[in-house]
């Protein structure tokens, strides 16, 4: 089983009632059904944590243990009282073996419960190290078909036990901690339009774009993208806005004599994107919409721009586009995107996923 399947399995566990863990077969079965974008999104978060979290962060350190000399009847009492199905056997702090309920059953069949644990324990024990990522434990669980693993430190001393349940709990706690802050921010931003009452609320984002500044090119568009996501805009609308705004931003850098201003006006029902510059101006505002028409220099083309597809792309992405220009004075480009059902602020968990393209 590869890591991803293990992670997939882990994610599926989170969505199931926590009391029961899926079998390996179920985990495999789940992989065959189409994974929705929502699932994929969840897996990625869990996946990250599977590498970040260490085994010592999630393991149980408060252990019940047996000694090799302890009679099996005593061990059976410990298992029964604590409602557990196995115990590590420890000698001088080091792991000597493990005793499971199956070992006790074997002894019971021979009516042999008075003998020391040593006689029935499994000596060759699979362990994991406390400083390893939990993904290592997940891999070991699935590879070896085990339900619990003893955890040893760098000196091979026993420091804890880890179960699949510990991993689930650890990931849930970490998810809660990690996303609380971002959730609060998103919540505040996405309710902006509901919380502020006015006849017409508009959020204006303004960026000054320098002519010829290719290194910073696209930075404003990146900021706009983050802002729209945080405001709770539909992912597809965000994507279309950002592609258009990025082309427009690059046009200011490439063509405008003194650069220009990139402005985004967000209203609950529409997003207006505009650029204004002070020249040189476009003599023919129709021909620039023809695919392939370009006045870009060779230097700009070498950078991968100036293919004459910018305005074509913008037109394809937005609902409305207006280009007004006067040679010697300047150009104003206005693009509008209408938001169906005023999707701002109505954001719920999982809405930031891209619409499914996977079939």
């Amino acid at each position: 089983m590869d890591v991803f399947t293990a992670l997939d399995f882990q994610a599926s566990k989170r969505m199931c009632p926590p009391a029961r863990t899926p079998t390996e077969q179920e985990a495999h079965g789940r992989r065959d059904r189409p994974i929705t974008d929502h699932d994929a999104h969840e897996i990625n978060r869990v996946e990250e944590l599977s590498y970040d979290l260490k085994i010592q962060d999630v393991m149980t350190a408060d252990l019940r243990t047996a000694t090799p000399e302890m009679p099996l009847s005593n061990v059976l009492d410990i298992l029964r009282i604590n409602r557990i199905s196995g115990l590590p056997v420890v000698e001088n702090g080091y792991l000597a073996g493990i005793l499971s309920i199956e070992d006790i059953i074997r002894a019971m069949e021979k009516n042999d419960l008075s003998v020391p644990t040593r006689n029935y324990m499994t000596r060759d024990v699979v362990t994991v190290a406390s400083y390893e990522s939990i993904v290592k434990a997940m891999r070991t669980f699935t590879e070896k078909g085990l339900g619990r693993l003893p955890v040893v430190d760098e000196n091979r001393k026993l420091v804890g036990m880890i179960t699949k349940g510990d991993i689930t709990r650890g990931i849930l706690v970490a998810l809660q901690r990690d996303y609380k802050e971002e959730e609060v921010r998103r919540y505040r931003a996405s309710h902006l339009f509901e919380d502020i009452i006015s006849e017409r609320t508009t959020l204006v984002l303004r960026y000054t774009i320098q002519a010829g500044d290719f290194t910073q090119g696209g930075k404003a568009s990146s900021h706009i993208k983050r802002a729209l996501i945080r405001l709770g805009a539909d992912p597809q609308i965000t994507r279309r806005c950002c592609i258009s705004v990025y082309e427009a931003e690059m046009n200011l850098i490439i063509h405008a004599t003194n650069g220009g201003i990139l402005k985004l006006e967000v209203e609950p029902h529409r997003i207006t994107m505009s650029t204004t510059d002070e020249g040189p101006g476009i003599p023919d505002t129709e021909i620039v919409f023809q695919p392939g028409y370009s006045t870009a220099t060779e230097q700009v083309r070498e950078m991968g721009f100036g293919a004459g597809m910018g305005l074509v792309n913008m037109k394809r992405c937005v609902d409305q586009i207006e280009l007004n220009s006067t040679v010697g004075k300047g150009t104003k480009l206005v693009m509008r995107m209408f938001i169906p059902n005023q999707t701002f602020g109505g954001r719920r968990e999982g809405q930031d996923d891209e619409p499914s393209t996977d079939h």
Binding site: F214, G218, C242, F305, E354
Partner: protein, 120 residues
């Protein structure tokens, strides 16, 4: 397939630290024209390109690509690597040329995410 599979097929070398090799890759787009890249309308793809300037990263980010692979063993400009690391965009360099790399990934089952020019 995931990024790890793509990198293996490309015999690629990841260039920025902390690349998540398990992200799913749904398709690919091979282009040296940034507008062509932006016209590739589906997210979660890998971009194969010969351009190595910082705009490649911005473009890939805006168009929601999941990784950039430079063809013919090209190394990105230092600024490109800085922005890519900031923006968590994996950069990979592959010894294959554009033609061969496209062929390798496509025949391994990775679909093309390139779209036709709209008729005007």
């Amino acid at each position: 397939m995931n990024l790890k599979d793509v990198v293996k097929l490309a015999e690629g070398t990841p260039l920025n630290p902390e690349v998540d090799m398990n992200v799913k890759i749904r398709g690919a787009c091979g282009a040296d024209l940034m507008s062509d890249v932006l016209a590739s309308s589906q997210p979660k793809a890998v971009l194969l390109t010969g351009l190595t300037n910082p705009q490649v990263v911005r473009t890939a980010q805006i168009a929601e690509f999941r990784a950039i692979i430079f063809v013919r063993g090209k190394q990105p400009q230092a600024e490109t690597l800085v922005i890519a690391t900031q923006e968590k965009m994996p950069l990979i360099t592959s010894p294959f040329g554009m033609f061969e790399l496209c062929g390798r990934l496509h025949s391994a089952g990775l679909p093309s995410f390139e779209t036709n020019v709209p008729s005007s």
